[in-house]
């Protein structure tokens, strides 16, 4: 299989085929409704409560179903698919343990505003509340981590609910929506009338900004001496990267992009200062602490960016552009609030944006960039993880889609792989979910079958979802899986070294498998490199091999991520390196 294949007809053909009103089961309604929503692939795992749904899928080939090896793999894959494509990701799991295995993935998507429709089975309606076999109150369990959820009690409601769920997931501030379908609802029949309109009273996200507020921002730019843009995931999610580029180049205002904003602005640009925050660049953090006009575009002032709130951007008038009004003023008091879709707001701003005459400030930012670039001490005897990431960037010319797990390798990927396109960096920011990196790459590859997808993992996180190697093998999903193996929980080790005075507690990952052999056990090619020469050769072999490959890079154990700001410090209190 090469991801979505030609077997699927055009959307119009499918609509023609499936729009006919007919008496069918809830399960068939679900499948047809998914098609009508434009779903091309779903990730799932069957079980008792969704057997009617899987029965309806028998011989059904108008969308692809990927059978993962764990529900967590399914939801992270759906998440990766959504982040890489901009479409809604879909996954299916059964009731009880199947549904609860999704919780981490739902929370991950919720924290990073990723549009997902999560379908779970439940016990039949007459068993709900009786502690029946494999029953769990999944709508109750996931209420704090979904944008909205439905427990379907009547098959008649199913077409409307599915349509509403896709609408809610993909509009306004995006997020996961859960649909819990009891077994009898999936079995019951009704006349299927596809729903094409949506009318949810009280749900009406503000897309276009208040013009008075955007004018205020333009005026503020005229008088600012040291303006700075902080751009986040909202740029990528709204598809506003071109508008952002125009805004930055027209105004000449320096820009820092958050972890989820990486790729929203080309990293090679002079005005780009790198990532801000705990492991942000010297230039970004110094600029944040000295700016007098901070223009936040689609970022949510996460504490990994602001660090100590008292003392964050102390001289700045704060502008916050966000589709979610609740983000504005939540963490940082805001002087000019602008509620709206980032792309729409930037389109309006670009009409009247003018060059900011702040040459001295730009020169100062450039000087900070030059003074303290991201750096590390290379070695000829040991592999350095930063060098490995740089090699990945060099050999792929920055064109790959990169997914990461969570930890030191994630920060090095963010620092040393330079992203120039939106949706080319897939990473768990808000929740920091280990186990996310590899399955999300499977989803990203399904969304972009023809692009190179690299999944960068640590030896810890790789062992949280390694079983999904099976689906790469059997479906020939050509993800290049990189494992940065330092034999330790690296970020935890770094904290224990710096904050807990070197009292290393339970961080050695002894007993890890031989990763190339593990790959081979699943039928995936496995390679290992312990020095630069081997690394170059193994990576070239991986790139030249069609299909999935696992490459393990054995790197120096004690390497730390710098710069680093400790919790409780302001962001300009940076530890720049080991030599300090």
């Amino acid at each position: 299989m090469n991801a979505q294949s030609a077997m699927m007809g055009s959307k119009e053909q499918l609509r023609e085929k499936w729009m006919k009103p007919e008496v069918i089961t809830g399960s068939e309604i679900l499948l047809r409704s998914l098609l009508l929503e434009g779903v091309e692939c779903v990730f799932g795992y069957p079980g008792g409560a969704v057997l009617y749904i899987y029965d309806a899928m028998h011989g059904f080939d108008d969308f692809k179903h990927v059978l993962t090896r764990h529900e967590q793999g399914a939801i992270h894959a759906a998440d990766g698919y959504a982040r890489a494509s901009g479409k809604v990701g879909v996954c299916i799991a059964t009731s009880g343990p199947g549904a609860t295995n999704l919780v981490t993935g739902i929370a991950t998507a919720y924290m990073d505003s990723v549009p997902l429709v999560v379908i779970t089975g439940n016990v039949a309606t007459n068993f709900i509340g009786t502690d029946a076999f494999q029953e769990a109150d999944i709508t109750g369990i996931t209420m704090p981590i979904t944008k909205h959820s439905y427990l379907v009690r009547d098959v008649e409601d199913l077409p409307r609910i599915i349509h509403e769920a896709f609408h809610i997931a993909s509009t306004g501030r995006k997020g996961p929506v859960l649909i819990d379908i009891p077994k009898d609802v999936s079995a019951n029949k009704t006349m299927f009338k596809p729903v094409t309109e949506v009318n949810i009273r009280g749900y009406n996200p503000t897309v276009n900004p208040n013009r008075l507020q955007t004018d205020k921002l333009l005026k503020a730019i005229e008088t600012a001496q040291r303006p700075l843009i902080l751009a986040g995931g909202g740029v990528v999610y709204s598809g506003g990267h071109d508008e952002l580029y125009r805004f930055v180049t027209t105004t000449g205002i320096p820009i820092t992009t958050t972890l989820l904003g990486l790729g929203g602005f080309p990293s090679g640009h002079d005005l780009w200062t790198g990532m801000p925050g705990m492991h942000g660049t010297f230039a970004s953090n110094k600029a944040l602490q000295n700016t007098d006009l901070l223009i936040n575009i689609g970022a949510r002032f996460d504490d990994r960016v602001t660090m100590k709130l008292q003392g964050f951007a102390p001289h700045a008038k704060v502008v916050h552009i966000d589709i979610d009004p609740a983000e504005i003023g939540k963490n940082v008091p805001t002087d000019i609030p602008i509620v709206g879709d980032v792309k729409s707001v930037l389109e309006i701003l670009n009409k009247d944006a003018k060059y900011a005459h702040v040459d001295a400030w730009r020169a100062q930012v450039m000087q900070w960039k030059e003074e303290q670039p991201l750096q590390y001490e290379d070695s000829d005897t040991e592999l350095k993880p930063q060098w490995v990431i740089e090699m990945l960037h060099r050999t792929t010319e920055g064109q790959a889609i990169v997914t990461t797990d969570v930890g030191q390798h994630q920060m090095w990927a963010a620092q040393f792989y330079k992203f120039n396109q939106p949706r080319s960096f897939v990473t768990s920011g808000g929740l920091g979910t280990m186990g996310f990196g590899f399955p999300s790459a499977i989803g990203a590859q399904m969304a972009h079958p023809d692009r190179l997808v690299i999944s960068i993992n640590g030896d810890g996180g790789m062992q949280m979802c390694a079983q999904e190697l099976a689906i790469c093998a059997i479906n020939n999903i050509p993800v290049k899986v990189v494992i940065i193996n330092n034999q330790v929980l690296g970020m935890v080790r770094q904290w224990q070294e710096i904050i807990y005075k070197g009292r290393y507690s339970h961080i050695d990952l002894e007993g890890s498998p031989d990763f190339p052999k593990l790959a081979e056990a699943y039928g995936v090619k496995g390679l290992r490199a312990t020095n630069k020469e081997e690394a170059e050769a193994a990576w070239q072999e991986a790139l030249n091999t069609p299909g999935p490959v696992v490459v393990e890079f054995v790197v120096r154990k004690g390497e730390n991520v710098y710069p680093m700001v400790q919790a409780g410090d302001t962001i300009d209190q940076m530890i720049l390196g080991d030599s300090e």
Binding site: T139, G140, M143, P144, K147, H148, L151, I168, R173, I200, R201, G202, Y203, D324, P325, A326, I328, G329, K330
Partner: protein
């Protein structure tokens, strides 16, 4: 400075909607002093009245976070305008025949009502704003309160405004 706020929340009358609202308060660390739910003027919609405490920033966050819930149709800060707020309490108080006239006197002063009399007790119903109920309870304490049930506040803006 933390002050009391009374807000009305118009919500879809869906199963779980109270859990969504109260869960939001719980996990975001907002205070719930009282919460009442019942039918509204429109079929399919319920009105919740929530009394909470916090500074103006917290109140703003409460309103904004409530609006993020799909089932929330409207949030109204009642206490920002002249409003009528009422709660009801039933107080079962020890009342031997010799003290009953005394209790009746308090009840009359407060325009409350005696709604049940037992051999050793009386049940008093009082309606009013929170301060009045508090005062009534204080006065009943010396007689010995056997049981107490308060409804929490329900409220509306005065005049023609909605």
């Amino acid at each position: 400075m933390p002050t009391k706020h009374t807000i009305a929340v118009l919500v879809n009358d869906q199963p779980g909607v109270l859990q969504r609202v109260s869960g939001l308060f719980g996990r975001r660390g907002f205070n719930i002093e009282s919460i009442t739910v019942g039918q509204s003027e429109e079929a399919g919609l319920s009105r919740m009245v929530i009394v909470t405490e916090g500074d103006s920033g917290t109140l703003e966050q409460i309103e904004k976070q409530l609006y993020k819930l799909i089932d929330v149709i409207k949030v109204i800060d009642l206490s920002s305008k002249p409003m009528v707020a009422r709660e009801l309490a039933l107080i079962k108080v020890k009342a031997e025949p010799n003290v009953r006239p005394e209790i009746m006197g308090v009840v009359e002063t407060f325009r409350a009502a005696v709604v049940d009399i037992g051999t050793h007790s009386m049940m008093v119903q009082v309606v009013g704003d929170t301060d009045k109920i508090d005062a009534m309870i204080e006065l009943m304490k010396p007689y010995g309160i056997k049981e107490l049930s308060r409804t929490g506040v329900t409220a509306m803006i005065r005049g023609n405004a909605t």
